[in-house]
């Protein structure tokens, strides 16, 4: 195909003279190419004698894979569907490889998605689509129309139902309440015969369009239904092959007598019938999807070819089909999977009628078309990601303050938390020898109130909640029905019918669901409020914590494992006395609106005490010296209280609690492994380090630090029983280590209680 200005003839029906057209330029493989107003990118290339993929039957309707190119950096663009614009940069895909990834520009264009709700969505605005849309509107429906001709390509129908389209303005997600109407018409059947990869072969409708656009087609031979509006030479008989080097030069036909006739030509127009564009209908199986017009028609089935490429996307030939059939693949869906025919760019638009024809010809019944799945078009990563968001990580009210203080922020327990303020050991010693504050706002916090609050917690927790007096707190494990540890935290009794529960930072969301689920299941009369995100918490810890609280106006702070309301440095707080660090500790729970004020006032009041904030890294060192576990780090999915050496936290003489029956049962099974304390000289091994007894693997380290106060490495780790007991001497990273009781530090707990 060449620009008609350079040819000798004139196509009939062509009314636009190139000399009358305003010309602009785009670039194809670095070569300037002129185009005219109204040209598609494909037509502009064909005018310049360039076939985007080198050859193959062109349809000009977005069905075939033969006009793909990289346009302005986006690969796999159907150039027949894109209007030519001045300055466009087009690169043809390599003939023997996929287009290169745009490694030099990974950002890609920003793509937005809009979400639209309606009663009916009509896809395709040909005659039948317009009729369907008008009818729905007459019935008072809110109708959305999507038309590929207007640059709105529907790329998929999903359960929901949801129709996703790519438009010039971005992605559109349409949610129809009632119906999806597919009015996408029918595609023309392409030829399958040797030589069908040559340039110069077009469908009948494409031939007409090219002629109307003013392209010179030369001598046109029509196979099947001729193109409208142009002069053609009709080729009778059965198609045998296309002859030519790069471009078709002749077609060879076979008549009824079996004799071949060669017809020289410049262009071949193919009119072999129509196949409904019903991929969206087949995709919407089970949804309210209806096809109208040609999209609802029955597909023409071409005669079975003897040879040639059937699927250009996957390079499947008739020989390949024969081969897989001989190996037992007789079902259409299986042939698709065995050959990949129908899985490529055109999603079966070209090959589907021929595979059906092939199987029918080989004695199988005419099988229905294979299932269609999104997406029908190649999408950019930006288009796929449009409307998707990364999961956000919440920040405490002190997030800005931590960053201002130079903290290295990390995601820990599902939150942004200060890992260290730059001097982890200094932060550690501030806790051990002076006073420090830490942001523990991330801890789960839940209020439980109601006549059945005590009943709920008694059934839920393995501790005796009834013995907990108002104003007191207790460490608790949260178990599942199998007796495995889900989480840990505190139960704090506020009054007869009201409690505060705390959970770990990472476990609080699930713990809330757990508590609510059981409360609902047992139909208990309770009220539950999760305050994790509305209440801040600051941990004041260290030998001078009493002094700091006194300066903050709390001269009589609660005793160990007690709690009460107090005004601290002018801020109303619930003060919980406990200890995770091994030193005197007070958790100050308060409104998040007051976090910044309270934090700054405490730092100011403790300035001459050498107060420092501590980050998570220091906190993990401190807690490990005390042997406190971190659920999820030191526990596994099947950790029972016995396995983590926490049987003291489970009161089996209670009549019932979640997990009790499982614990009674598993306690009869000999212990196979246990979480144990370990220590060794020298630096701490990495968490996860393997533990050996001689040449036998006996476990792994779950937590490990070099203890500044003890001058050696301390660890928690899982140990298998070796010859009936936990090994006392083991090897870790090639060095000797000893099993020791926990806590490693202040085993009497006198410092925390002082």
């Amino acid at each position: 195909m060449v620009d008609r200005e350079g040819g000798a003839g004139r196509a009939e029906g062509c009314s636009k003279l190139m000399t009358d057209m305003k010309r602009s330029r785009l670039m194809v493989d670095g070569r300037p190419v002129e185009f005219s107003a109204g040209d598609s990118t494909l037509v502009a290339m064909l005018r310049a004698g360039i076939h985007p993929t080198g050859g193959g039957c062109l349809c000009l309707e977005g069905d075939c894979p033969h006009c793909l190119a990289t346009v302005d950096g986006v690969s796999y663009v159907r150039t027949c569907q894109v209007a030519a614009r001045p300055g466009m940069v087009i690169k043809r895909h390599p003939s023997d490889a996929p287009p290169p990834l745009p490694l030099d520009d990974c950002s890609g264009p920003d793509t937005i998605a809009r979400h639209i709700y309606c009663d009916v969505v009509v896809i395709g605005l040909g005659e039948s689509g317009r009729v369907a849309a008008a009818e729905a509107q007459r019935n008072g429906k809110h109708v959305i129309t999507l038309d590929a001709g207007a640059g709105q390509e529907v790329i998929g129908v999903y359960p929901g139902p949801l129709v996703v389209a790519r438009t010039r303005e971005g992605m559109v997600h349409v949610y129809p309440r009632e119906e999806i109407v597919v009015a996408t018409g029918a595609s023309e059947i392409h030829p399958v015969a040797p030589g069908n990869q040559l340039a110069g072969i077009v469908t009948a409708r494409a031939a007409t369009r090219l002629a109307v656009a003013g392209l010179y087609l030369g001598r046109v031979v029509a196979i099947g239904t001729p193109a409208e509006g142009i002069t053609v030479e009709q080729a009778a008989g059965e198609l045998v092959r296309f002859d030519g080097v790069e471009r078709v030069e002749a077609v060879v036909m076979c008549n009824e007598n079996g004799s071949e006739r060669k017809i020289e030509c410049d262009t071949v127009s193919i009119g072999l019938g129509l196949c409904p564009r019903d991929a969206l209908l087949r995709m919407g199986n089970g949804l309210a999807v209806r096809a109208v017009g040609d999209a609802a028609r029955t597909s023409d089935i071409p005669s079975c070819p003897k040879a040639g490429t059937v699927c250009h996307c996957a390079g499947v030939t008739m020989d390949d089909l024969e081969s897989v059939r001989e190996r037992g693949f007789h079902e259409l869906e299986l042939v698709k999977r065995a050959t990949l025919a129908g899985t490529g760019t055109c999603q079966g638009s070209v090959c589907l009628p021929y595979i059906r024809s092939f199987l029918a010809d080989r004695g199988e019944s005419l099988q229905p078309p294979f299932t269609a799945r999104p997406v029908t078009r190649q999408l950019t990563v930006g288009e796929v990601a449009a409307s998707s968001y990364h999961q956000a990580t919440p920040r405490t009210a002190l997030d800005g303050e931590h960053r201002r203080l130079g903290a290295q922020m990390e995601r820990a327990g599902g939150w942004w938390r200060p890992w260290s303020y730059g001097d982890t050991v200094g932060e550690y010693w501030a806790v051990r020898k002076g006073v420090s504050i830490g942001d523990v706002s991330t801890l789960g916090k839940m209020l439980v109130s109601g006549p059945d609050a005590l009943e709920l917690l008694e059934r839920l927790y393995p501790t005796k909640v009834a013995t907990l007096k108002p104003g007191r707190s207790r460490y608790v494990l949260l178990l599942d029905e199998r007796g495995y540890v889900l989480d840990d935290g505190l139960i704090c009794r506020d009054d007869k019918t009201r409690f505060t529960l705390t959970f770990t930072s990472g476990g609080s969301s699930f713990a809330e669901l757990w508590v609510r689920d059981w409360a609902e299941s047992w139909r208990l009369d309770v009220r539950l409020l999760n305050q994790t995100m509305s209440r801040g918490a600051i941990n004041v810890t260290g030998p001078f914590a009493h002094e700091l609280l006194a300066r903050a106006g709390v001269g009589d702070p609660p005793q160990y494992l007690h709690h009460r309301t107090a005004t601290v440095a002018g801020i109303l707080c619930r003060v919980f006395r406990l200890s995770f660090t091994g030193e005197v500790s007070y958790e100050l729970h308060h409104s998040v609106a007051d976090s910044m004020t309270l934090w700054r006032r405490l730092l100011r009041l403790g300035a001459d005490l050498g107060i420092k904030p501590h980050g998570v890294e220091a906190l993990l060192m401190l807690r490990l010296e005390k042997g406190h576990i971190v659920v999820g780090q030191d526990t596994d999915f099947d950790s029972t209280p016995r396995r983590i050496n926490h049987e003291w936290a489970v009161k089996l003489d209670k009549p019932d609690f979640v997990g009790r029956q499982a614990i009674l049962r598993t306690n009869k099974v000999p212990l196979d492994r246990q979480l144990a304390g370990l220590e060794m000289e020298g630096p701490a091994p990495a968490e996860g380090a393997l533990i050996w007894k001689g040449s036998d693997y006996v476990g792994f380290v779950t937590s490990s630090v070099f203890s500044p106060v003890m001058g050696k490495a301390v660890m928690l780790g899982w140990l298998k029983l070796f010859e009936g007991e936990l090994p006392a001497e083991v090897t870790i990273v090639g060095r000797p280590a000893r099993r020791v009781p926990t806590p490693f530090y202040d085993s009497e707990g006198s410092r925390a209680r002082s």
Binding site: I112, S387, T396, W415, L447, R527, M533
Partner: protein
């Protein structure tokens, strides 16, 4: 970029019947965020809740901002994968821009609320 501020109010958890029957003071906005839970702005006293076991807690756990309707709806059309109520005023809640957002939609403006720990993310995603 909207400037989300902490919203001071009262979080109330009570029985469904009590909350259904409650009459909130004039000039307050009561958002029923669950059958057993309501968030009232500005803060109110516990006297309005006829349930001795109700949890009535001062609360600043949401950050929010009023956005004019056109701007808000334009953002929601891009960022909200569920259908907004058509009536006004209306309360709605769900994922917006991947965050747990609550919306109070009036004729000419929309109040966006998000748990305060996600305020920065919502600001960035609305920018």
């Amino acid at each position: 970029m909207p400037d989300l501020k902490l919203l001071h109010g009262t979080r109330i958890v009570g029985t469904r019947a009590v909350l259904d029957a409650a009459v909130w003071p004039q000039n307050t906005l009561a958002l029923r965020i669950a059958p057993d839970e309501v968030f009232v702005m500005p803060a109110i006293s516990a006297d309005f809740v006829n349930d001795q076991h109700a949890i009535v807690a001062p609360d600043a756990g949401f950050a929010g901002a009023w956005i004019v309707s056109d701007e808000a709806l334009e953002f929601l059309q891009r960022s909200c994968e569920w259908e907004l109520p058509r009536e006004r005023p209306a309360f709605a809640q769900g994922a917006v821009a991947g965050l747990p957002v609550k919306l109070w939609l009036e004729a000419d403006r929309v109040l966006f609320l998000v748990p305060a720990p996600y305020a920065t993310d919502l600001e960035e995603r609305m920018a």
